[in-house]
């Protein structure tokens, strides 16, 4: 149990996927202009990440590794994830339209979201077992959601700041992220 908590805290805060590892920045910048949007995106990412993690783990350990085909990892993972996302999107659009409008519309963005692929690679690199992988994927994607929410909040305040013109738009967002990351450095070493 403690190892799961450690994995969770480490992936959620200490090695926050956006603030400390620079992964999934495109959607982080693009999707934080509105809090509701960030929540939708964050939840969609959580859903797909967990799903991807649950699917790729058996593929790696039951198909690729026994046959010595680890080098196919990248290709197989990305294709499987892309297909899965598309299937889920088709399914939601037709069968659960309400959910689709809350979350599903973010799905196409997710295929090329680095966070998901990074999680599937990391769980292999870190030698996590299946349960650990799932916990890890939840933690990473919630960390993503957290970072999105923090930026979305600060962005609302920035609307009132007379930011110098050359810092407008993206530069100020990265500067904000930098300062949020400074604050997150405080979590360093929380888990040893």
């Amino acid at each position: 149990m403690t190892d799961l908590i450690k994995i969770f805290v480490a992936a959620f805060l200490i090695n926050n996927i956006i603030l400390m590892r620079f992964i999934a920045l495109c959607s982080y910048i693009g999707m934080t202009s509105d809090v509701g949007q960030s929540v939708g995106m964050g939840l969609a990412v959580t859903f797909v990440t967990v799903m991807a993690s649950a699917v790729t783990w058996p593929i790696y350990y039951w198909i690729l590794k026994p046959n010595g085909l680890e080098f196919l990892e990248i290709l197989v993972f990305i294709v499987v994830i892309a297909a899965l996302v598309q299937l889920v999107e088709f399914y939601l659009k037709k069968s659960v339209p309400t959910l689709y409008h809350a979350m599903g519309i973010y799905l196409p963005l997710i295929t090329t979201n680095c966070a998901i692929l990074a999680v599937t690679f990391d769980q292999i690199t870190f030698n996590y077992n299946f349960v650990q992988s799932i916990v890890f994927s939840i933690a990473v994607s919630l960390g993503y959601l957290l970072a999105m929410l923090l930026l979305a909040g600060v962005r609302q305040r920035l609307k009132n700041s007379p930011i110098p013109s050359f810092m407008m738009d993206t530069p100020i967002l990265f500067l904000t992220t930098s300062i949020i990351a400074v604050a997150f450095m405080g979590f360093a070493g929380l888990i040893k």
């Binding site: 929410l149 009132n160 700041s161 110098p164 300062i179």
Partner: protein
């Protein structure tokens, strides 16, 4: 008509303003920080004053030059840069190289404040950002503590702050030894007076409380946040099995609670938000002290809460005459 001779002015109501402005607010804060600075000079020598002066000059110069370069109106007379420079100096070790203090406050002013549009536009406390960046950049300088000039005992351990001693695996007993106290009451007294190693302005609880009392009496600060932060620190450290009184007196809790968690721009304006901010900052501080890498967590505790302020500001208090909307029966 008579307009030509008289030149009347049209403006919106009210046609009256108080004489109290930003400059006066900042002036009050500076006055309130003076006892702590004086304490720093007393405990650590004149170099404390030098570090503070360099930090202030650098902060003011950075603000002035930056705004000039941007062709914006310079507002150095509002004294906010002085406050930032002063606060930053007060949370540096006295042995900090002068160039480091200068870089720190210039960085704080430009990156954390002016690039966001100046006073009022920033979302994180510039002084704390400055300190966090310095701590990241030159950890060796930032953790080189000098013993108090008036310490009863001077041995190797006094170069660590009381919290530092705990972080390195020491016990309260070791802390007592380091300040030359024979028992807990004596330890508390030493901590309260500030006769131990630490940042320039953070050691003396007495002088900080003096300044804080001034700000409270003059209604510059609201007591909610500091009280919440100190109480949260007290309770959380007690839950972690630490000596709660010691935890509150040690490190930057008081300085942070009264002077940084009350920074207008970067803390919530709503009453509940203020409570939440204080509690959150206190909890984060203790968490970092207990589990994190750093002996002291006030900087990060407050910075983390700074980031949450937009959400805390959403908890709006009850308006005058507010009635709960009645549920319409379906």
């Amino acid at each position: 008509m008579e307009n030509k001779t008289m030149k009347l002015v049209l403006s919106g109501a009210p046609h009256f303003v108080t004489g109290y402005d930003i400059q006066k607010t900042m002036g009050m804060v500076i006055i309130a920080l003076l006892p702590a600075l004086a304490g720093g000079v007393y405990f650590f020598g004149l170099r404390a004053l030098l570090v503070t002066a360099v930090s202030i000059v650098s902060a003011v110069a950075a603000e002035f030059l930056f705004r000039k370069a941007l062709r914006r109106e310079t507002h150095v007379t509002d004294l906010s840069a002085v406050v930032t420079g002063m606060l930053l100096a007060l949370i540096l070790p006295v042995s900090s190289p002068l160039w480091m203090a200068a870089i720190g406050s210039a960085f704080a002013i430009i990156v954390a404040k002016e690039l966001f549009g100046g006073l009022g536009g920033n979302f994180a406390n510039p002084a704390l950002v400055g300190r966090a960046v310095l701590l990241m950049s030159w950890p060796a300088f930032m953790t080189r503590w000098s013993p108090s000039l008036h310490a009863a005992v001077v041995d190797a351990t006094t170069t660590a702050t009381p919290l530092g001693i705990l972080k390195l695996g020491g016990t309260i007993t070791d802390v007592m030894k380091s300040v030359g106290a024979s028992g807990k009451p004596a330890l508390y007294l030493q901590m309260f007076l500030g006769n131990h190693s630490g940042s320039i302005g953070e050691t003396s609880a007495l002088l900080l409380l003096l300044g804080a009392a001034f700000l409270v009496v003059t209604r510059v600060i609201d007591l909610r946040t500091p009280v919440a932060m100190i109480a949260a620190t007290f309770v959380a450290s007690w839950l972690f099995g630490q000596d709660p009184t010691f935890s509150v007196l040690a490190g930057g809790i008081l300085l942070g609670a009264f002077f940084m968690a009350t920074d207008y721009v970067t803390t919530p304006v709503t009453p509940i938000g203020k409570w939440a901010f204080g509690i959150g900052a206190g909890l984060m501080t203790v968490l970092i002290r207990q589990l994190g890498n750093f002996p002291e967590g006030v900087t990060y505790g407050i910075l983390l809460m700074n980031v949450l302020v937009p959400y805390l500001d959403k908890i709006i208090p009850r308006k005058f005459g507010f009635v709960k909307p009645r549920k319409v029966n379906a």
